[in-house]
Amino acid sequence: MGDSREAKRVANRLQAGSLTLPYVDQELALDLGLTRRDVLKIAGYGSLAAFLAACGSTSAGSSSITATGGKMSIGSYNTDPGSKAGTQAIVDAFKTANGGTNVTLNVVDHGTFQNTITNYLQGTPQDIFTWFSGHRMRFFADKGLATPIDDVWDAVKGNYTAGFASSVKGNDGHAYAVPTDYYPWAIFYRKDVFAAHNYSIPTNWDDFKALCAKMKSDGLIPIAFADKDGWPAQGTFDILNLRMNGYDFHVNLLTGQNGQKWTDPKVANVFKKWSEITQYYSPAFKGLTWEQGADQLLKKQAGMYLLGLFVSDEFKASGSQADLDQLDFFAFPDVGSSYDAEKALDAPIDVFMVSKKSPTLSANLGQAKAFMEFVSKGSTQVTFWKSAPGAIPTASDADTSQYPALTKKAVDIVSKAQKITQYFDRDSRPDFSGPNGMQGFLLSFLSNPSGDTTNLQKQMQTFWEQLPPE
């Protein structure tokens, strides 16, 4: 089995509401509540085994790869109050669900975890670690520092859409991660502020600039912007480059594929466009953290803020549900290029991965895989989401009925996007995107946005070219 004809046959039988299992040779009545779309999805997998796994039924493969009881360890970078509590909650739930598995949770400051990841994975890492999808995940897979988990993925992939399925694949085609949450980047605003001033949502670049000018005359900071840490500016670069030059160009540029160079005039155009709105940014933005930028939006000092959905965590942390209820967002306005139709945006996916060099992994592999299966469940992800509302569950069976309007809208904007990127520092190599490279270059640009960027682009390209082969 495994060919598409077989799958189609299965699909047809499914629509008929019954299925003959070859091993059992008996017709089973099925009441799976499958929609036509689900059936097509299942057909797409092209194998009966995948279908069985997809249904989450007691497939034989699943039970043999996991183990209950025992112990395992997790390295986590979730140190924000919300995500920290969320991680603890799912670990506790796992302990109960998996026969009292003793889980050691090692929580490391997010920045430190990220900075020391290479040494961490080569030393004595925990069995499972938190990480990002994208180029950075594939990099460690290529270097042999992550364990492929195709068996787990086969068992859980029915709970994921195709976009997530491709996000866990390494360059070698094996699965290396289980996605647990994602969040879109968009322009956030307060509904009450927009209502009070009678602002309408801008859908194109000119309207957007006009709105900025209007806000400025109304005494607001039109766009909250905070780039002390260097990475927030990359979000603006991403969206402008995606909309002006398209997804393919963006990916090629960030990975240097197909000879794409930073000196390209198309990149200069991005900076030129960007310079049209920098006058509307927060004063002293180069010394502000993203949290301070979020505070400007929260306190109605600023009108808009281009950031990830995690800005809502900051609203939640303020303790005022009324403020959180006012938070809303809209998609980045069309810039008038042919790529507007792609509706591309950054929607980074957070994942769990299984390390390779963990000294306890050989003993704990079963428990580790059980945990990976556990976090692929919608119920687990919703538990996490309740603590960190900026992290939308990735599983298809997540109970979306509890979602507030903001989360529903976030799901919607991502599903409408034809192309999704992870974020600059997850899509490009870290030595290029870090403080050493692009963060510094973008800060230089922002110091003099109206200036000629030829020299700056040359520096970017020179820096790129001297980087050793990855």
Binding site: A284, D431, Q459
Partner: protein
């Protein structure tokens, strides 16, 4: 034959006279050998490794191989193409000048003033010394809270937040280095003060008495009598200042990981070889450059110490 203490050990061809027993020799070998081994393992080994790695493009994963060898390419890029190197170098020089010309003299001045047993000198001593017990990371956090453009103490105290003319102490690349230098001096002054105060206490009081009897003023006494007597301490102070300037790292790193006007050589090393970016080879090249620069004050210090001790 078991040699006794003071016995003449006779070897096959040459006769050597020794006062050491075998036990003494073993003990000596251990006493010299262990520190030497530690020195080689912990200092010379890594130094040599850094120098070797600086000729490679090793990414920190696995073992460096022959194909990683790139010759002087790292150095070439460092000096000609890397846009952050010369700013970082300049910032270290500014750091050195600031500490030498402003912070260190201030620390010495405080020491001299406190040495005069003015009322409450113990309290002043404690106050000025207090920042020294804090780690530089903590100092960085404390000053960050003062400097934040919108929430920081300084801009609020000056009323700049209300008037909307914010001074971007941390983000303005022409300002932030000096803001950081003030923070660093806050700690450095206390450090120098204590060092110098200890030195002043050891100056023979009869020298000052003699100077006073000869009719010298306070200032003359200090510059013509006390300062020359303090020569060994002065050298230590100069070297400490130079080393502090070269190893400047913490505060700038806390504030923004050393970019946008806060580039420093030590931070470039970290950002290249110890961060998520694992350009170990390139980072090592910067480290070697910093080592060569550091050798100047270290050698000066050592020759000075050696000379005074012989």
């Amino acid at each position: 034959m078991k040699p006794e203490a003071g016995a003449v050990a006779i070897s096959g061809r040459r006769r050597r006279y020794t006062l050491l027993t075998r036990r003494d020799k073993i003990l000596l070998a251990l006493m010299v050998g262990i520190p030497l081994a530690l020195d080689v393992i912990l200092v010379w080994g890594p130094t040599l490794a850094s120098v070797l790695l600086s000729f490679t493009n090793w990414d920190g994963i696995g073992v460096p191989e022959a194909k990683n060898w790139v010759g002087f390419k790292n150095y070439q890029f460092l000096f000609t193409g890397y846009s952050q190197f010369w700013p970082a170098f300049a910032h270290n020089v500014i750091w050195l000048l600031w500490l030498t010309l402003i912070a260190t003299p201030l620390g010495m001045l405080f020491a001299v003033l406190l040495d005069r047993e003015i009322r409450g000198s113990r309290i002043y001593q404690s106050v000025f010394y207090l920042p020294v017990v804090l780690s530089l990371v903590v100092v960085g956090f404390i000053w960050e809270l003062q400097y934040y453009a919108t929430e920081g103490f300084i801009n609020n105290a000056l009323g700049l937040v209300k008037s909307g003319h914010l001074i971007d102490w941390l983000g303005d690349s022409r300002l932030n280095l000096y803001a950081v230098l003030v923070a660093a001096s806050w700690r450095h002054i206390g450090y120098i003060m204590i060092l110098y105060l200890a030195g002043l206490k050891s100056v023979d009081p009869s020298l000052r008495e003699a100077a006073r009897v000869d009719g010298a003023t306070e200032v003359q006494t200090f510059f013509n009598v006390v300062f020359p007597v303090m020569a060994p301490i002065n050298v230590v102070i100069v070297v400490v200042t130079a080393i502090e300037a070269l190893r400047a790292f913490d505060i700038a790193f806390i504030i923004n990981q050393g970019k946008n006007g806060l580039e420093l050589l030590s931070i470039l090393i970290t950002n290249n070889s110890l961060s998520e970016a694992t350009l170990v080879g390139f980072g090592s090249a910067i480290a070697v450059v910093l080592l060569l620069i550091s050798l100047v004050p270290i050698v000066t210090f050592l020759t000075r110490v050696m000379r005074t001790s012989t």
